[in-house]
C-alpha cells in the first residue's frame, strides 16, 4: 500500500538526445522525438490511501509499473478465460498443472519452471509476484517445479501450442518509414498481411481451427495455434510447418531473397493474391518503393541484366511508383531467362511476404510472451487481434497499463463505487473483475479472447463425453 507521500515530479527520462538514446520514441509519452532537446513530462502521483489506487495521467512510465501491476492483476487480467484456455477442458489430466510459466520480475529477475495447481493459485501467485512479463512454456511430463527432483532425462516437454512470432525488425531491409523497434501505421500493414497470409494457410492448408493472434505490445504479432493436433506436434513437424510457410531466404548477405519456379505451388498463388490486395497502397504509395532513389536502387538490384537497362530507361519516362511498377511488369514478361516472368511476384513477396522466425516455432519447450502480458517498454497490453476486423486494428490504440488504470480511476470517481473503494457488499472479486475490464478499453479485447475460448470449448465438450462414455462414467 502506498504511504501517501508528497507528489513527485518525474522528468522525461529520455531527454530526447538522439545520440544517447537508441530508441526514437520517448519512453514516457511514446511520442516521436522532437528536435527540442529537453522536454519535461511531469506526472503527478496522487496516492489515494483509501483506494490504494494510483491516479495519474495516462502517459506510461516504466518506473510506475510496480504501482500499476498490482492493480492490473487484481482487477483487469482475465484469469477466468485464461484458465479456461490453458486447462483445455480438463480433458487431459494435469495439463494445466504441468504447464511451465516463466516470470520476469522487478530488476530483471527471471524465474522459470513456475506452475500452478488451479486458477485460484495462479491468481494468488501472480498478484503476489506482480510479474513484469509472463511467458508461457510447454506442458511437461511432470510438474515443472519438480524438474530437479525427477530422474534426469525423464523430465520432458510433451505438448505445447504451435506458435509463430512475426517481428517488424526482420523487415528492416524493405521498409523505409521506420527501423528496428519502431513501427508506424505505414509499416503496420506488413503485420496485417502477415496475419492474413499465415492465418489462411494455417486454416485451409493445415486444417487448424483454433488460432489466436496477439499483438506483442511493441513491434510484432504472435500466433497461438491451439488445436489438439497442433499441440502434439514434434519439433521436426513444427519446423516443417514453419518452413512450408517461409518464402524469404537469406540474411544480409543475400540480395534476392525469394526464388520462385514453375509450377507455382497453390500456397504461393493464394498468398500472392492476398498480398496483392494490399500491395499498391502499401508498397507503391505508402512506402513509395519505386519513387525514392535509394529504394529504387534496391529494387533494381533484384533485376537480371537483360531487362535492367530497359527498366532504367522506363524509369526516366515514368516518375511515379505506380506507373513504374506497371512498366516493370511489362519488362519482366519480356525477360529471356528461365522463370523471369515470375520476377514481379518475387519482388512483391520480398517486400511484403511474412517473415517468421523458424526457431521460435520449432521448439516444443520454447517460451513465448503470454497474451495479456504487459510490454515493459511500451506499457501496452498484448491483446488478441480480432481477425474478422483485421484492417481496423490499430496498434497505437491498444491500451497501455497506465491508461487502463486511469480509466479505472475515472470509473471510481464517476461514483460507480463508493468513496472507500469497497465493492458492493459481498460481491466476489471475479465478478467485480468482469465489471472492471468491461469498463475499460480492455473490454473489447477480452471479448475476442472469450469468443476464442468458447469456440474451443465446443470441441472439448464432445471429447469429454466420449471419454466418460468409455469409462462408463455417467
Amino acid at each position: 500500500m502506498h504511504c501517501g507521500s508528497t507528489p513527485k515530479t518525474i522528468d522525461c527520462k529520455s531527454q530526447h538526445a538522439p545520440s544517447q538514446r537508441p530508441v526514437s520514441s520517448c519512453l514516457v509519452c511514446y511520442r516521436e522525438r522532437t528536435t527540442n532537446p529537453t522536454i519535461r513530462h511531469p506526472s503527478r502521483f496522487r496516492y489515494s490511501r483509501a483506494l490504494g489506487l494510483v491516479s495519474m495521467s495516462d502517459v506510461y512510465d516504466p518506473a510506475s509499473l510496480p504501482d500499476l501491476l498490482p492493480l492490473y492483476y487484481r482487477r483487469l487480467f482475465p484469469f477466468s478465460q485464461y484458465f479456461r484456455w490453458l486447462n483445455y477442458g480438463g480433458v487431459t489430466k494435469n495439463y494445466f498443472q504441468n504447464r511451465e510459466f516463466s516470470f520476469t520480475l522487478k530488476d530483471d529477475i527471471y524465474v522459470r519452471y513456475q506452475c500452478f495447481s488451479n486458477q485460484s493459485e495462479l491468481e494468488k501467485e501472480m498478484q503476489k509476484m506482480c510479474p513484469y512479463k509472463i511467458d508461457i512454456g510447454a506442458v511437461y511430463s511432470h510438474r515443472p517445479n519438480q524438474h530437479n527432483a525427477v530422474k534426469s532425462g525423464s523430465f520432458q516437454a510433451q505438448e505445447k501450442e504451435l506458435v509463430f512470432d512475426i517481428d517488424m525488425t526482420d523487415y528492416d531491409d524493405v521498409r523505409s518509414c521506420c527501423s528496428s523497434a519502431d513501427i508506424c501505421h505505414k509499416c503496420w500493414t506488413l503485420m496485417k498481411i502477415a496475419v492474413r497470409v499465415l492465418d489462411r494457410a494455417l486454416k485451409e492448408d493445415f486444417g487448424f481451427e483454433h488460432r489466436l493472434w496477439v499483438y506483442s505490445g511493441r513491434r510484432g504479432v504472435h500466433c497461438w495455434v491451439c488445436d489438439e493436433a497442433a499441440r502434439k506436434l514434434s519439433q521436426s513437424a513444427r519446423s516443417a510447418v514453419a518452413e512450408y510457410l517461409s518464402l524469404i531466404r537469406g540474411g544480409s548477405e543475400t540480395i534476392k531473397k525469394v526464388q520462385l519456379s514453375t509450377p507455382v505451388h497453390p500456397f504461393i498463388t493464394e498468398s500472392l493474391s492476398l498480398i496483392m490486395s494490399y500491395f499498391e497502397d502499401y508498397a507503391l504509395i505508402d512506402q513509395d518503393i519505386l519513387g525514392r532513389p535509394e529504394s529504387v536502387e534496391n529494387v533494381l538490384a533484384l533485376l537480371p541484366e537483360d531487362i535492367l537497362l530497359e527498366t532504367c530507361s522506363d524509369f526516366q519516362k515514368y516518375k511515379t511508383s505506380v506507373k513504374r511498377w506497371e512498366s516493370l511488369k511489362k519488362r519482366v514478361k519480356q525477360g529471356s531467362q528461365k522463370n523471369s516472368a515470375l520476377l514481379d511476384s518475387e519482388i512483391v513477396l520480398q517486400y511484403c511476404y511474412p517473415r517468421l522466425d523458424v526457431n521460435v516455432s520449432k521448439g516444443v519447450n520454447h517460451l513465448l510472451k503470454s497474451p495479456f502480458s504487459v510490454h515493459p517498454k511500451t506499457g501496452r497490453i498484448s491483446v488478441p487481434i480480432d481477425t474478422r476486423q483485421l484492417d481496423q486494428f490499430d496498434p497505437f490504440a491498444v491500451p497501455t497499463i497506465s491508461m487502463l488504470c486511469q480509466e479505472l480511476d475515472k470509473a471510481v470517481q464517476s461514483g460507480e463505487e463508493d468513496e472507500s473503494g469497497k465493492d458492493k457488499e459481498g460481491e466476489p472479486e471475479p465478478k467485480r473483475r468482469v465489471r472492471d475490464y468491461k469498463r475499460t478499453s480492455l473490454g473489447k479485447y477480452v471479448k475476442v479472447f472469450e469468443l476464442f475460448v468458447e469456440q474451443m470449448e465446443k470441441s472439448w465438450k464432445g471429447q469429454l463425453l466420449k471419454q466418460s462414455d468409455m469409462q462408463g462414467d455417467f
Binding site: 525488425t169 487448424f208 513437424a237 540474411g251 531473397k257
Partner: protein, 505 residues
C-alpha cells in the same frame, strides 16, 4: 542374439530362405535370431561400416539421385557383398539370401554401436536412410505394391470426385507430375505429419491437414516412416545396452566402431588458455575459416551479434581454447561499445555465455558446431551473420568479399564452381589452400575448429595431434582431387580399424 565361438551357422534352405527375406529391401523390423560366430560378427560390422562411410562420402561429392552416385554405390554394395538388386533369378537365390542375411545382421550390430549418443544416432540414421532411399528407387513398379503390402503401409487412395477437385492443384504443386501421368496413378491422402519432408520443401499439395500424394512420390512417405521407426528402435536399443556391454567380447569392438566415425568433436580443448584476446583479431585473418572470420568482423563492426552468430562463434572460440573468463571479457568489451550497457550485459548475455560453457541450467558443455551442422541447420535470415558463407551467401557477394580479402581471381572462380556444385566444405578447403599458399590442404574438412587447428599447425610448423582411432584424416599425399581424398581418407580410417582387429582375441 547369442554368440558362440566358431559355431556352425545354421542355414535355411530353398523356400524358407525366400520367406525370411522376401525383398532385398527391408525395414529391419525384427532382429535376427540365429547364432553367429565372432569372426562373422566382426566382418559383417566392419563391412557395413565401410558401406555407410562410403555412402557419406559419395553423398558429399555427388548429388544423391545422379547416375555417378548410383554407380558408385552399386559398386560398393557389390564389392562388400550386400544386396543391390531386387529382381534376382532362381539360380542366384542362394547367394542373394546370404547377402540379405548379412544386410540384416550387420544393420542390427551397428545399431548396438551407434545408439549411444545423439550424434552417433543422427549419423547412423542419416546413412541408413540414404541407403534405403537408393534401394527403394531401384524397386521396379511391379514389385512395389507387394513391398508396401508386406510392410503394412496402407495409404488411403481418394475417390473420383475428390480427384477431380484436387487434380489441378496437385499438378501445380509438383514439377514432376504432368496431367497425363497423373491420370494413370493412384492418389493417396496422407496426414501431413507423416510426410514432413515433402511439406517442408513444399513439394506436395496440402489441404485441410492432408497431403495428396501421387503414387510416384510415395518414397518420401516411406522414408519418413523408416526414419521414425529406426529412431525409436535406437532409443530402445540404448536402454538395453548395459546388458550387451557386459559381454567382454563385444564391448571393445562396439566402442571402436562408434569412435572411428564421429571424428574429433573439439569438446575437450587441449589449448585452454593458450590464446590471448589480443591475438584474436590477427588470428581471424590468418587461421579462421571464412564463416568465423565474417562473424568476427561483423562483431567488431556492429558491436553485436544475434543469437545464431553468438552460438556459432562463441562455441568456436571455446573450441580454440578460450576460457570462460576470457569469453566473458571478450563479449562484454565488444557489446559495451555498442548499445548494451555493462549491467544489462551481465544480466542477460553473460548468462548465456556461461550456459554454453556448461555452467548453468542443465550444465551441458556444448560442443562447437561442425560444418554439417552449420550448413544444414539454422539458416541465417535478415540481420544474421552466421551460417556457412559458401552455402548461405549470394555468389556475387561472396565473390566481392573474397576479392576484398585479396584472394587471386582464378582461385575465386574455383571456389565459386565448387559452391555451384554444392561442395561447400571443398570450397572452404580451397579457401584454406589459397590463404595459406599451399597446393593441397591435406585434410578433409568437416569442422571449423579443425580448420583452425590445421592452420595453426601449418603456420607454426607443429604436428596436429591426431589420435587413433578417432582420426580426422590420414589423407593420401599423391591424389590432388578432393573427391579422391575423401575416399582415401575413409580407407585410411578403415585400415586403422582393421589393424585393431588383428590384435583382437
Amino acid at each position: 542374439m547369442q554368440f558362440f565361438r566358431k559355431q556352425r551357422i545354421s542355414r535355411l534352405n530353398g523356400d524358407r530362405q525366400a520367406d525370411m527375406y522376401p525383398h532385398s529391401l527391408q525395414f529391419y523390423g525384427q532382429p535376427p535370431t540365429e547364432n553367429i560366430s565372432l569372426a562373422e560378427f566382426e566382418t559383417f560390422a566392419v563391412d557395413r561400416l565401410r558401406l555407410l562411410k562410403t555412402i557419406e562420402n559419395i553423398g558429399v561429392s555427388y548429388v544423391k539421385t545422379s547416375e555417378q552416385y548410383s554407380k558408385k554405390l552399386e559398386a560398393e554394395l557389390r564389392k562388400l557383398l550386400f544386396p543391390y538388386r531386387v529382381d534376382v533369378d532362381e539360380k542366384e537365390l542362394g547367394k542373394e539370401y546370404e547377402k540379405r542375411r548379412k544386410d540384416h545382421i550387420s544393420h542390427f550390430i551397428l545399431r548396438l554401436a551407434y545408439c549411444q549418443t545423439e550424434d552417433l544416432r543422427r549419423w547412423f540414421i542419416q546413412q541408413e536412410m540414404d541407403l534405403f532411399r537408393y534401394r527403394f528407387h531401384e524397386i521396379p513398379e511391379e514389385h512395389f505394391q507387394n513391398f508396401l503390402n508386406t510392410n503394412n503401409l496402407i495409404y488411403n487412395s481418394i475417390n473420383e470426385e475428390e480427384r477431380r477437385i484436387v487434380k489441378l492443384s496437385i499438378i501445380h504443386s509438383n514439377a514432376n507430375i504432368s496431367a497425363v501421368k497423373l491420370e494413370e496413378m493412384e492418389i493417396y491422402k496422407v496426414p501431413f505429419q507423416d510426410v514432413l519432408d515433402l511439406v517442408r520443401s513444399r513439394k506436395v499439395y496440402l489441404k485441410g491437414g492432408y497431403t495428396y500424394i501421387p503414387h510416384k512420390e510415395i518414397v518420401t512417405v516411406v522414408l519418413n516412416d523408416f526414419r521414425t521407426r529406426l529412431s525409436k528402435a535406437l532409443a530402445v536399443t540404448a536402454r538395453s545396452l548395459p546388458v550387451v556391454h557386459s559381454d567382454e567380447r563385444l564391448q571393445p569392438l562396439l566402442n571402436h566402431l562408434s569412435h572411428a566415425y564421429v571424428g574429433q568433436d573439439y569438446s575437450i580443448q587441449k589449448n585452454i588458455g593458450k590464446i590471448s584476446l589480443e591475438q584474436i583479431d590477427n588470428l581471424s585473418l590468418k587461421s579462421f575459416p571464412l564463416c568465423m572470420r565474417n562473424l568476427h568482423k561483423a562483431l567488431r563492426e556492429n558491436h553485436h551479434l544475434r543469437h545464431g552468430g553468438r552460438m556459432q562463434y562463441g562455441l568456436f572460440l571455446k573450441g580454440i581454447g578460450l576460457t570462460l573468463e576470457q569469453a566473458l571479457q571478450f563479449w562484454r568489451a565488444e557489446f559495451v561499445k555498442g548499445k548494451v550497457d555493462a549491467d544489462k550485459f551481465d544480466k542477460t548475455y553473460a548468462y548465456s555465455i556461461r550456459h554454453s560453457f556448461g555452467k548453468e541450467g542443465k550444465r551441458t558443455d556444448y560442443t562447437p558446431f561442425s560444418c554439417m551442422k552449420i550448413i544444414l541447420s539454422n539458416a541465417p535470415s535478415q540481420g544474421d551473420h552466421h551460417g556457412c558463407p559458401f552455402r548461405h551467401s549470394d555468389p556475387e557477394l561472396l565473390k566481392q568479399k573474397l576479392q576484398s580479402y585479396k584472394i587471386p581471381g582464378n582461385g575465386i572462380n574455383q571456389i565459386l564452381d565448387l559452391v555451384k556444385g554444392m561442395h561447400y566444405q571443398l570450397a572452404c578447403q580451397k579457401y584454406f589452400e589459397l590463404t595459406h599458399g599451399v597446393d593441397d590442404c591435406n585434410f578433409s574438412l568437416n569442422h571449423p575448429n579443425q580448420y583452425f587447428a590445421e592452420s595453426q599447425s601449418l603456420l607454426n610448423g607443429k604436428d596436429v595431434k591426431r589420435e587413433a582411432p578417432a582420426k580426422i584424416s590420414g589423407g593420401s599425399q599423391e591424389t590432388p582431387a578432393n573427391v579422391k581424398m575423401a575416399e582415401s581418407t575413409s580407407s585410411a580410417e578403415m585400415d586403422d580399424l582393421e589393424l585393431l582387429f588383428q590384435d583382437a582375441p
